[in-house]
């Protein structure tokens, strides 16, 4: 019984939160990695793209709510998401035409492109704040829990409760769906194959008649859609705050680099590694040990490796360690040396 309690506690406080956070990071990392694979620069506006996605979903959700449209018990945001994707993708494509294309044609140094993406990020951040203000907003509606902690306790008779929030469930399910779609696209369709060819060897791809502008546009469309989905899911789960997406950008970079830049599979693995290490290292394991160990061995402290304040530091440290010891990532990506 105690073992079951310990496992439940671990599931409830570590595995489920980490799985849903990992899925959110995987979306961010995929968005970053795809742009890197095709356009060959680190897009620092990725975090703000997530913020935009969440913001448009929030606005459309508000619109639907005022019209009385809903799909209860699921949150209205799911209905608003496609519209949000369309709007954000169009805006990002316009940005690409007006801002990035000029530098692409000139074949300019990557650092300049990165600085340009800061500029874009600053403008996007300003627009987000002007449109919805800096305060925190919750746009989650509908049923809150798939499994409630109390129901779980009653039906199983365990002392520990297990809860699964709807937002967490949706996050994990949509991660599975969209990632499968992405891989189907990249490996089974002609356009997807041409994208992979372009990412592998630009010159060879151009020789075989692949239209670079088309590949770039599709890369933006896919990356932006993934970022919008990730941003919306994060917003659903933790509430929408305009500044929080910048904080999400670095763990996403960490995940992308950890998995090997330009490698979509790596980005997903990286996202989960980062999420699980962040949560495991900062979780206080006292509860689990109390169940597992005999009474006289029970720990007195919290059994926490690092205080939760340092959650983000964990991912930054992983990032730096990876850059130092294995710059190509776990799965061979583009070399970063």
């Amino acid at each position: 019984m105690d073992y079951l309690n310990a496992i439940t506690a671990l599931l409830n406080y570590v595995v489920i939160p980490a799985a849903s956070y990992g899925s959110q990071l995987a979306f961010g990392a995929l968005g970053v990695t795809i742009i890197y694979g095709i356009l060959r620069f680190s897009n620092f506006a990725g975090g703000e793209t997530m913020a935009w996605g969440a913001m448009f979903t929030l606005l459309f959700t508000g619109l639907f709510q005022s019209l009385g449209i809903s799909i209860k018990p699921l949150p209205t945001a799911i209905l608003a998401l496609p519209l949000s994707i369309i709007v954000t993708v169009s805006l990002i494509l316009i940005t690409d035409r007006t801002v990035y294309r000029f530098y692409r044609k000139k074949k300019i140094d990557t650092s300049i492109l990165v600085i340009v993406s800061f500029g874009v990020a600053m403008i996007m951040n300003g627009i987000t704040r002007i449109m919805v203000g800096p305060s925190s907003r919750n746009f989650f509606d509908g049923e809150r829990f798939f499994i409630k902690a109390r129901d779980f306790k009653n039906s199983t008779g365990l002392a520990e409760g297990l809860s699964l929030k709807v937002s967490q469930g949706i996050t994990i399910i949509s991660a599975i769906i969209f990632v499968s779609l992405l891989f189907w696209f990249l490996y089974k369709t002609k356009t997807g194959k041409s994208m992979r060819a372009y990412s592998d060897n630009e010159d060879l791809a151009l020789l075989s008649g692949i239209n670079p502008e088309k590949v770039v546009s599709i890369a933006w469309i896919i990356a932006t859609s993934l970022l919008v989905i990730g941003g919306t899911l994060y917003g659903l789960d933790k509430g929408f705050k305009p500044y929080v997406y910048y904080m999400l950008l670095l763990p996403s970079f960490a995940a992308a680099i950890l998995g090997g830049l330009g490698n979509p599979l790596g980005a997903i693995a990286g996202g989960f590694v980062i999420a699980f290490s962040e949560i495991t290292i900062t979780y206080a394991f006292k509860k689990v040990f109390v169940y597992l160990l005999p009474e006289n061995l029970e720990p007195t402290g919290l059994v926490q490796l690092i205080s939760t304040d340092y959650k983000f530091v964990v991912s930054y440290s992983i990032l730096i360690l990876v850059l130092l010891f294995r710059p190509t990532g776990i799965f061979k990506g583009k070399s970063v040396v």
């Binding site: 680190s42 650092s111 600085i115 800061f118 990020a121 951040n125 490796l305 983000f312 440290s317």
Partner: protein
């Protein structure tokens, strides 16, 4: 040359307009911050303009420089030292020892299967022993008088000393960062520095025993007189009456003027050194490395160690500026360090002013800081005009007027992109 003088003249006219129409106190506040910003952008220019190093962790180096005034100038808290000062020092020394022992083992066991388990064992044991020594000491220190102290305090030395020390702090941090991350491709150096700067801020927020963390250190000693003392001094009252300003305004202007003089001295020294360095054989070598690393290496230049040198120098300049900023504010608030304000804004200054040109960086610092402050006023005015068709309490109009504060990011991002597109060499291009 005449063009440059003309641009600086316009800049000072703008500040003078603020002085006449808003107030001279505001104008002097802007000048002081402009000078600090110029020093920061000089630091970035050393890294980016001279050597092409892409550092976006400026915020971290500025913040760690800002730690210096607290450590140099606040009085020591003897009770806290007694409670656990020594133990914290022992823990830190032990931590450093563990680190070096691990790197030593790493090198010794080069081709051995024992390497991963040995390193893991050293690091894990080291971590737990470190926490065993460190945690009780920190608890004891933070328990002492937490509303005012709760930290170890400083050395009680004159605060001006903290400016060079701030530079040293930043230089030490930069040396560590540079040793491990220089040699990565440019945009990965950038991501690494960004990560490190966030780590520095997190540590400053959470390690209360150093500088009280988010509880902030306020009321740092000043290098200039206090307004209240001036207002009570007979000489000052007489002096202000003879030039005909009321005593309160005069004292506030006098204090800000003193800061301006101190800051200008630092700015001139750093500018002079930068120019000397740029025109020396060393500066030519740096630019040669920047323009063609492979060729420079073939000529026998040690590219990585030159990069490390220039990275440390540039960061030290940022650290000095950070210490000056904290001195000007008389307080250290770790939560105020935000990457948009302390990293990206500085980049905008360097790019707009003209990367590779020291005078350009100074001009960029002045212009961009001026706009950073005044965009809110201008933005409010623009929004007011744009929405004047709506009634006074129309919700859209109120929303837009409230949003004027966020015009800053938008405007500066726009300036950055426009300059990069149409005038990528900046206002004063590199010679």
């Amino acid at each position: 040359m005449r063009k440059n003088a003309f641009m600086f003249l316009i800049m000072f006219t703008l500040i003078a307009i603020v002085g006449v129409f808003q107030s001279w106190t505001v104008a002097f506040m802007i000048i002081n911050m402009c000078i600090i910003s110029s020093i920061m952008s000089l630091g970035v220019n050393i890294q980016w303009g001279y050597a092409g190093l892409f550092n976006i962790g400026i915020m971290g180096f500025v913040a760690i420089g800002g730690l210096a005034p607290v450590i140099i100038a606040t009085p020591p808290v003897f009770e806290a030292w007694e409670a656990g000062g020594l133990r914290v020092l022992i823990a830190l020394i032990f931590g450093i020892f563990t680190f070096f022992f691990a790197t030593f083992t790493w090198k010794k066991l080069k081709n051995s299967n024992l390497r991963p388990p040995a390193i893991t064992l050293i690091l894990v044991c080291g971590f737990f022993i470190y926490r065993y020594i460190f945690d009780p000491a920190v608890e004891a220190i933070e328990k002492f008088n937490p509303t005012v102290d709760g930290n170890l305090g400083g050395l009680g030395l004159p605060i001006l000393l903290s400016w060079p020390v701030g530079g040293l702090f930043a230089a030490a941090a930069a040396w560590l960062v540079g040793r491990v991350s220089l040699g990565l491709r440019s945009d990965y150096l950038a991501i690494a520095t960004l990560g490190v700067s966030e780590i520095i801020i997190f540590i400053m927020k959470n390690e209360d025993w150093i500088a009280r963390g988010v509880k902030n250190v306020i009321g740092l000693p000043r290098p200039v007189p206090y307004e209240i003392d001036l207002q009570q001094s007979a000489d000052f009252i007489y002096w202000s009456q003879t030039i005909g300003i009321n005593v309160v305004d005069a004292s506030s202007l006098f204090v800000k003027g003193c800061y301006t003089i101190l800051f200008l001295i630092v700015l001139f020294i750093i500018y002079w050194l930068c120019e000397k360095a740029l025109k020396s054989p060393w500066g030519r070598m740096m630019r040669a490395i920047r323009d063609n690393e492979v060729a420079a290496e073939a000529m026998g230049k040690n590219v990585t160690s030159r990069h490390l040198q220039v990275f440390v120098l540039g960061s030290a300049v940022c650290g000095i500026a950070g210490a000056m900023l904290v001195t000007l504010d008389s307080q250290l608030t770790p939560t105020s360090y935000h990457p948009l304000r302390f990293t990206f804004l500085i980049w905008v200054m360097v790019i707009v002013g003209g990367s590779g040109n020291n005078l350009g960086s100074i001009l960029g610092g002045f212009i961009i800081w001026f706009f950073w402050i005044e965009v809110e006023t201008i933005g409010h005015f623009v929004m007011d005009v744009l929405t004047s068709g709506f009634s006074e309490n129309n919700s859209f109009r109120i929303h837009m007027l409230n949003s004027a504060a966020y015009m800053r990011y938008l405007t500066l991002g726009l300036i950055l992109i426009l300059v990069l597109r149409f005038n990528p060499k900046g206002l004063i291009p590199e010679k």
